[in-house]
Symmetry: C2
Subunit: 334 residues, 2 copies
Amino acid sequence: MEGKPVVAVTMGDPAGVGAEVVVKAFEAAREYARPVVVGDASVMADAVQICGSDLEVRAVDSVEAGLEVGDDIPVLDLGNVDDIEYGVVREDYGRASLAYVETAIDLAIEGAVDAIATAPINKQATRLAGAEHAGHTGLLAARTGVEDYSMMLVEEPLRVTHVSTHVPLREACDLVTTESVGSTIDVTHGALRDLGIEEPSIAVAGLNPHASDGGLMGTEDDAEIRPAVEAARERGIDAHGPESPDTVYVRAAGGEFDCVVSMYHDQGHIPIKMLGFGSDGAVSGVNVTVGLPIVRTSVDHGTAFDIAGEGVASETSMVDAVRIAARLAAARDR
Amino acid sequence: MEGKPVVAVTMGDPAGVGAEVVVKAFEAAREYARPVVVGDASVMADAVQICGSDLEVRAVDSVEAGLEVGDDIPVLDLGNVDDIEYGVVREDYGRASLAYVETAIDLAIEGAVDAIATAPINKQATRLAGAEHAGHTGLLAARTGVEDYSMMLVEEPLRVTHVSTHVPLREACDLVTTESVGSTIDVTHGALRDLGIEEPSIAVAGLNPHASDGGLMGTEDDAEIRPAVEAARERGIDAHGPESPDTVYVRAAGGEFDCVVSMYHDQGHIPIKMLGFGSDGAVSGVNVTVGLPIVRTSVDHGTAFDIAGEGVASETSMVDAVRIAARLAAARDR
């Protein structure tokens, strides 16, 4: 890789805050990467107006052309949005936002870009558009042919990965097996090394209160999680646990561990969002899909239809998403 | 009530950090209350030595006598510890620590004290001692004849209560019913009014990711939690939910709600501990048993056998426990 990593930034659902956070993040993102937007040029131009930005949108038809636009915002223009209606779930918007992601994935697979950072899509809209995978992660896994992957959330110094995410809590309990915990430890370990941490220290959260307290509250901690941790240690991974869930995130935020493998969505999401709140009150945090053959990060917020089109959405998470995408891409290149 | 509230402070397990955090907290606690320790005078004297405190321990045989000791630390001396061995689980220590709590409960029931603040006990030790209820909360509920109660954790401005606490996560899912959520909303509402909040705003967390996202991830949010929230609103309670668990705690910490009713132990404990970490890094936070006929608060940490006897345990949580006990007692007295 010569120069800063090239990061494809997908625009997200046209009715959401995606375009405006991309505009607001753009100059700061250029500190870390050569970003090229994959989206619709007319929506991006509208976002520039909304945000009162001095930048101009330049529609391009290739990534290469996008790298030659100077100070402008290069948009690989799929031209798939006819009119702009903020805050509305529309089938055509769902189809458009899927196209941005699919295009970006293909660019990453063929090596035209070094990483992808995605703005939020709307799952109701992508479902209307007939998507088999309504969310980013399923789509990424399917299109890259991967089975073992995990969602890592980063709000430094805290990082968390998940054994499962968008499933009912009862089903999440069923999904806690020695095999699934072990594979999540492995993808977590690989991702932390990609982040430049040579010998990562990984905490594995328990499932039950106090990690069952020696079997007094549930069986999974000793029957499923502990064997996975022990097997990981035998593979040379510095894994610890099962640790009591109510304190392990505070310990990790204090520097004791590089990442906490979480047993379900909210176990990992709640502490990340609390830490983001503690730091500056704004939406921040970055979502990294780990275990893929390509580098992909995402903002850690949704389409925010209630404030879309107002130019008030915070760009912090998008700047972080591009920054971490660039760092991961550079590490893979070494 | 004349003067500051009288708070019985139980010493906790003699082998733990209870006595030392009481000693270290004592002067600060007197700002808010007239504290009287219920414990063993010899253990308390040892803690004074360990902490290098200037205070002296005064053994008394009644609360009344304890209020007349001037600057000394009054200890209602049960004289039930023969020798001190820090960090060791012992049956006699379990029996001793249960006696402190039982005595304090009886003093509160008969009105000799206005509130109880408890130092940590060790459940292994109380089980060895044959306790039917190994922990404080079960003991309190049984001895005061109460069925609907909840654990409220306070790390201001965030407060959380729980539909269930020390049960396996799968069982916690089963315990989320319209009835249990409704009764937890009610005890939460009463406790917030006791805290002086006239029209409390109560968020009710969902059980599943994104509160099921309209039924896509689980059934309990719409089938059990939503009807409980609607019924509470019909009773005139300003209840909201089910709210997405991953963001509701941040919203409450930002001032949007006075309390979050949590569906299981870690859902409520993780954000409280993260917020405590964000504020000063020390152990803080207070545990309030709400729904009882008496006022009871507790420190939000355990016996910490690994550091007991060293005088290094933080007293922050104990000071807060006495402060909030005094505030609740004063509010009930009005």
